[in-house]
Symmetry: C2
Subunit: 509 residues, 2 copies
């Protein structure tokens, strides 16, 4: 006797919840690997994660699960794609269809390489030794090409990889939006350079005792709404945010005594991700309605809190006296204007994660183009360091002496995350467009967002994000959501508008 | 066609290695729960661990695994019980036979209760509120009785639970050995009390800055041989040691600024456990030949390093100048004699983990007897606080005003660990008997162990433990091993000899 659609639905959801448990355990092991794991523990950790990857893959590709989803996809429950059941069925089926295309041996080797690759990368970066990392990266790229071919794609192999991070997005479309951005951004960066104005950034390189940084970061993260009953903040070499359960979101950061912005804005950035995680419906944890839409939409949150909030004048009108009291030795004689200018210094630099709001997108463009070259055009991994240097020269007018500060600076590729980078710039673009809309929607009795920030009020913005984005889970695609909330498709214009409004006065443009 | 014995063996071992992976992941989650987990994360962590417990139980009770072990138990590979294959088959079969007797529903409820129970215990202890913990503990005890009945036992239900921690040991035998110990120990403790001598323990309650304690503990743990490439040290409320993989052993401790011994001797204790973990054969991780024999033999290691090494005069002849330099404010004017006496203060106290080498065993006796009352004699959990106070009055002449310092002081029962406590005293007894033998065996060109400790040489003792115990895994039972290595069955005499030799001079007996 065939199952009723309702029974099939609860069976499928139960199965998906089991996968979510496995996935959350996998995240736990990944978090621990990057925060705690003793050096010699890596190999067995790889065994553990390989095992879990196999277990997840088995359950995703389980034939009975497939039958349930086939039945449900043709049922009334799937009729309205934006209904709870419709969105859940659509997204589970989408994900399963992708997984069934991947051979288990490929999945397991990728999981294993992800762990070993990250360990090799840590060493390679420390020793500025690309050659030691090259064989593993070569294999990682080979497997990503195999993955793309197994998945299939519309226009180019890279589409298949991008789709993992930014579902339903096309490489050509991202190229188009980023081209629009570049066209306006390059002249802006040039004008800033030619303005002759430069903040005194040395004030940020004074002594900022690490224990005080910790307290200050924790304090600000809590003030913008991160719930430490449901999360924590740790240290790691390459900061990230990871949700390990419906009520367990882990932020990480890296403290440098003589560089205040690194840990502080890093923490705000990860806390932005964390606010998204904490705003997802815990009842639907790991299911489509309790999961993030895409990495671009995730990055929207982190960049909004880091830059649109945390690097705004209004934010520091509220927090600067607290900051000054916390770091009196470093900032005792520094005016709020000087501090604000210093944290908004724009100039070409080598390290992406230390780069400013404006040039950041050029760092992304370089990676986005190199990834396409690796995947679509068979650029040999051995040629990567040289290609990297050339692009930096071309886009930013500088290039690094060492691979440690060049092609080895990011962890992503070592873990197999190829196709990921462009979502950072998409995040900036989304952030600008949604932030603009939040300003319009919230301009009521309480004044503009900036007026609210000055008073230390962040709950209205967070509430707006909760309602418009977080609580929706994957009900809509990113493209649909941006149109529903802002009335327009994604454009580079709000970001350019934001950058001009901010940097125009600072640099006298 | 039936499998060859060799094929059956490698199939069974492969299956057991998969269980070991699941078990190591479970340990990882348990470690994280006690070291890192945000307060609200507990419920989902329980879901995760319940899921893993189910997965492990499924694999242990898998029918094909059972058939393999049946075939192997009757094969030539099992003929010599002390051979690699013989020991592996015997121990896997022993474990599986126990697991198949337990209904999966019971196993899963116990796993879930272990997590919830520990969380409830943390709160109850903090708030001195036994009543809030009582319902969970009542259920935990009920389930332990069910477990004992399902497993079957020789003389009393408690045997079945004891067997989990001290395989093949009988309650009546432990009672007998501990009775022998008590007979000689009570007069010794009385004589110490009557001696009128007391060290000045207030010197240990001066200010010992926590960051210096951390550095000093890490340093000493490394010096006695703990390998931090294969392990780490973290903080938690109730310290423990957990092996999360063949090269990933996690020690934990708890720092109190104004009580030096807590973190320091706690760290030595856990490092002792850790040295056993690190001495097991990594190739056999999670299999019988790479696993600890029993908790008593595990505790042998921790108590030996904590007390026989760490509380010896010779140890401090080596380390005292380093200690004094590290904590000059606290110990600047304190003589090595005064310090040595203070860390060997013997007097009845309320808290087990703070108690001295001599009275410690009376704390254990109380718990051992109460556990038997709960399991064998149906003592109601509601009566436990009162029974606890009465026993403390009887054995130690004191009793606590609060349950927080009484029946709520230990984590064990909250996690379902009933049958565990006596292994602590067994550990003391084993430690004394093996330490005596190590002294005999190693008395060569390098002098006595004490002479070696004075020179900061701990490698010979560790090497002896590695050879005699660690590298053997579960090849022999605890009872067989102690006879093989020391030539005699376990006795309370070496421990009494040690205590008399140590405390006689200190207290002028």
């Amino acid at each position: 006797m065939p199952l009723s659609d309702a029974d099939a639905y609860s069976k499928a959801v139960k199965h998906a919840r089991e996968i979510a448990i496995l996935s959350s355990i996998d995240s736990m092991l990944g978090w621990d690997e990057r925060v705690n794991l003793p050096p010699a523990g890596g190999e067995y950790r790889a065994d553990q994660m390989t095992f879990l990857a196999g277990q997840m893959h088995e359950r995703w590709t389980d034939a009975k699960f497939g039958e349930l989803l086939e039945q449900l996809a043709g049922s009334d429950l799937a009729k309205d794609p934006a209904s709870d059941t419709g969105a859940t069925i659509r997204q589970l089926k989408r994900k399963r269809d992708k997984k069934t295309k991947l051979p288990q041996a490929l999945v397991e080797e990728q999981a294993r390489l992800a762990v070993l690759g990250q360990q090799a990368w840590v060493e390679a970066r420390k020793n500025n030794d690309f050659a030691s990392f090259q064989p593993l990266l070569t294999r990682i790229v080979e497997l990503k090409r195999q993955e793309a071919n197994a998945l299939g794609f519309k226009e180019c192999a890279y589409d298949a990889l991008l789709d993992d991070y930014e579902p339903d997005e096309l490489t050509s479309n991202v190229r188009r939006v980023l081209a629009g951005l570049r066209e306006e951004l390059v002249p802006l960066v040039a004008a800033i350079k030619e303005s002759g104005r430069q903040p005194d950034v040395s004030i940020l390189n004074r002594s900022f005792p690490i224990d005080v940084q910790k307290r200050f970061s924790l304090d600000v993260a809590a003030k913008i709404g991160f719930d430490f009953q449901r999360g924590r903040l740790d240290e790691t070499a390459h900061p990230f945010c990871s949700g390990l359960g419906p009520n367990d979101c882990r932020l990480t950061t890296r403290y440098t005594e003589r560089h205040f912005p690194e840990a502080f804005f890093g923490t705000l950035h990860e806390a932005g991700h964390g606010l998204y995680d904490q705003g997802l419906n815990p009842e639907q944890y790991g299911l489509p309605l309790g999961d993030a839409i895409s990495l671009g939409i995730h990055e929207l949150q982190s960049r909004m809190w880091e830059n649109f909030v945390g690097r705004s004048r209004a934010f520091w009108d509220h927090f600067y006296s607290h900051l000054k009291a916390s770091f009196h030795g470093a900032l005792g004689g520094v005016s709020p204007e000087a501090f604000y200018f210093a944290i908004n210094d724009v100039r070409p630099s080598l390290i992406r994660i230390e780069s400013d709001e404006a040039t950041y997108n050029l760092h992304i463009l370089i990676r986005f183009e190199l990834e396409q070259a690796l995947i679509n055009d068979n650029l040999p991994v051995a040629d990567l360091p040289e290609a990297w240097r050339k692009k930096y020269q071309e886009y930013l007018g500088i290039s690094s002496d060492t691979d440690a500060d060049g092609v080895l600076q990011d962890i992503h590729w070592s873990g197999g995350a190829i196709g990921y980078f462009s979502t950072y710039s998409l995040g900036n673009l989304y952030a600008a467009q949604f932030f603009h809309q939040a300003n319009v929607d919230l301009k009521g009795a309480h004044g503009t967002l900036n007026e609210q920030f000055t008073r230390g009020e962040f709950a209205p913005l967070l509430g707006w994000l909760r309602e418009k984005i977080h609580s929706q889970g994957q009900r809509y695609s990113a493209a649909t959501l941006v149109e529903r909330v802002t009335g327009k498709p994604l454009s580079h214009k709000p970001l350019m508008e934001h950058l001009k409004t901010k940097f125009g006065p600072l640099y006298g443009l």
